[in-house]
């Protein structure tokens, strides 16, 4: 019984994850419509069986636009987290393992980046470099590096004091091997907790920045750019913004929930965090 209850959310989340992946790679399998198809007879059409979320100002199927927007959304999420990991993980390992001056310096840099509110930092950088997908991924990655760094650093500090690391040291195992063979694999659990949370932040920041015109720009389709376009139709076609915002909220919430779930699996005593 308990196993069934534990497995249910995992089944739901993996189905949603699969759906997201298909939307990103083969969107044509999920919708018969094309996201740029203009249909003057269907302008702002109400939801119906053929258009479950209705049509937008150009008569395009809203669901199709949401599905086709997934690709860029996923690229931003995964790209920023991956980029942040490439820098954050090695720095965290080094700082946590060696301690001392290098730890102090890296920690101060990380704290400095953390003290920039992400949106403000994004505004500053976009003002300099201009709005593009690449800038967005870069800004998010930059903001995520200290978050991954702090996690890995803390984990490394704990693991470094454990017997298996100390024995490896006493055996003369090379430091690089100790870091990547003994310490890194044992930080995966907590990393799996923070990654979906960061992806949720990425979805929300993407939406926010696109809304103020500093994120992904139309005609490129992302959920943020759709939210920006749909903001003019809250009165005339409320299902349009509702559908786009609802999907965005659902995606972010599912990501946060799956982080919680991973957290419960890593540390059964703690349900949240």
């Amino acid at each position: 019984m308990t196993i069934k209850l534990m497995k249910l959310p995992i089944i739901i989340f993996s189905t949603l994850g699969l759906l997201t992946l298909i939307s990103a790679i083969f969107p044509q399998f999920l919708t018969p419509y094309h996201p740029d198809e203009i249909d003057v007879t269907a302008l702002l059409q109400k939801p119906s069986w053929s258009h479950p979320f209705g049509c937008d100002e150009l008569g395009t199927d809203v669901l199709a636009r949401i599905i086709y927007g997934t690709r860029l959304e996923l690229m931003v999420c995964l790209g920023s987290v991956a980029l942040a990991s490439i820098f954050g993980i090695p720095c965290g390992l080094v700082a946590g393992y060696f301690g001392g001056k290098i730890d102090w310096i890296l920690t101060v840099i990380a704290d400095s980046i953390l003290s920039f509110p992400i949106i403000l930092f994004a505004v500053l950088i976009v003002a300099s470099l201009g709005a593009s997908v690449l800038t967005l991924v870069g800004v998010l990655a930059f903001a995520f590096i200290p978050r991954i760094f702090r996690l890995i650093r803390g984990q490394t500090q704990i693991i470094s004091s454990l017997g298996y690391v100390r024995s490896a040291e006493a055996m003369g195992v090379k430091t690089v091997k100790i870091l990547f063979l003994h310490i890194l694999p044992n930080t995966i659990g907590p990393l799996m907790v923070i990654v979906p949370q960061l992806m949720a932040i990425a979805v929300l920041i993407e939406a926010g920045l696109s809304f103020i015109g500093l994120g992904i720009q139309p005609p490129q389709i992302s959920w943020g750019s759709l939210l920006l376009v749909s903001k003019n139709y809250y009165v005339a076609a409320p299902w349009y913004p509702l559908a786009v915002g609802g999907v965005t909220t659902l995606a972010a919430a599912v990501l946060v929930f799956s982080g919680d779930l991973a957290g419960a699996a890593v540390n059964p005593l703690r349900r949240l965090k």
Binding site: L162, G163, R166, S167, M171, N186
Partner: protein
């Protein structure tokens, strides 16, 4: 006496901890000198906070010294990264207290045991597996255990695996840092007898660190008693147990139960009173004076030096001169 393999010369270890913006200094080891001989078992006894584990780590070069030197057969223990470091890693090994965190949970037992063999190129690649199996056999474990992960084992089995891993490089000296304190009593006995057997089979010195006097008496040839980072008494096991000179050693031995009901009942119990002092603010003079039942004025001012009282017994106490 046989050959000296480890010569510890006046070492001190000082920890500087930043706590709440204030720095605190703790002298974990205070001016300790001693020698370890070839194929002996050397026991180190003390309460928690006495610096015995730090001393164990220092002995094999895992702890940076604040002052003093340690020589392994004329080679000064080098810092990690130097050429001698790798050579010494084959000679000096350590086993830790908690068997559950001593093996990487994400690697199989076989992988963990193969690591020292591969690191030091102890045999050709094809022979690694057979070497791992013979190690498991040596500590009395089944060969089918090599495929499993640490979570499949009990504490006693894990500790055997840790012993096998330490033996893999065929070291001269193994530090056993409280290796039985996480185990239940029956398992403790098995581990101790395993260590004794292993010692009979090879040319090996053991340093056995424990807070359990009974265990140490059972296994050690010589014993060191530590208190707040200083040597209290050091000497051969028989002499120390039959005729302890330092009031602290006397109290420890008195506190240990005797596994014989009639003698246990007759035992004069003079328990230690008080708590071990705060290592940041140790008492002046003799560190033990706050709990000693024979204090006089001199103990408040002067730190007692380590003096020989018998052929194989050294004590640091002002009272020993009276004897």
């Amino acid at each position: 006496m046989s050959e000296i393999i480890l010569d510890i010369k006046k070492i001190s270890v000082i920890f500087n901890k930043m706590f709440f913006g204030r720095s605190q200094t703790i002298k974990a080891i205070d001016n300790v000198s001693l020698q370890i001989f070839n194929s002996e078992t050397f026991g180190i006894v003390g309460e928690s906070g006495s610096g015995k584990s730090t001393l164990g780590n220092a002995m094999i070069g895992l702890q940076t010294l604040s002052s003093g030197e340690i020589f392994y057969k004329e080679i000064a223990l080098p810092l990690s990264g130097t050429k001698d470091w790798m050579r010494l890693r084959r000679q000096l090994q350590i086993i830790f207290q908690d068997p559950f965190t001593s093996l990487n949970p994400r690697r199989t037992i076989g992988q963990s045991l193969a690591e020292p063999i591969i690191t030091h190129n102890l045999c050709s690649k094809n022979d690694v597996t057979s070497k791992v199996l013979s190690l498991l056999d040596q500590v009395g474990l089944n060969s089918n255990m090599a495929e499993r992960y640490p979570n499949a084992f009990s504490g006693g089995q894990l500790q055997r695996i840790c012993i096998a891993r330490a033996l893999a490089v065929q070291p001269q000296l193994i530090i056993c840092d409280e290796i039985t304190s996480a185990l239940d009593v029956s398992t403790q006995a098995q581990i101790i007898s395993l260590l004794k057997d292993l010692k009979l089979n090879q040319d090996l010195s053991l340093v056995f660190i424990s807070h359990d006097l009974g265990l140490v008496r059972n296994i050690a040839d010589r014993i060191l008693v530590m208190y707040l980072g200083r040597i209290v008494e050091i000497g051969s096991s028989d002499i120390i147990f039959s005729d302890p000179k330092h009031p602290y050693t006397q109290a420890l031995i008195n506190a240990a139960p005797i596994p014989e009901p009639s003698r246990e009942a007759a035992r004069i119990k003079t328990p230690l009173f008080g708590e071990i002092p705060d290592p940041q603010n140790p008492p002046s003079g003799c560190f033990f004076r706050t709990r000693c039942n024979q204090v006089h004025d001199r103990c408040l001012i002067e730190t007692p030096a380590l003096k020989q009282v018998k052929k194989n017994q050294f004590v640091s106490c002002h009272h020993t001169e009276v004897h």
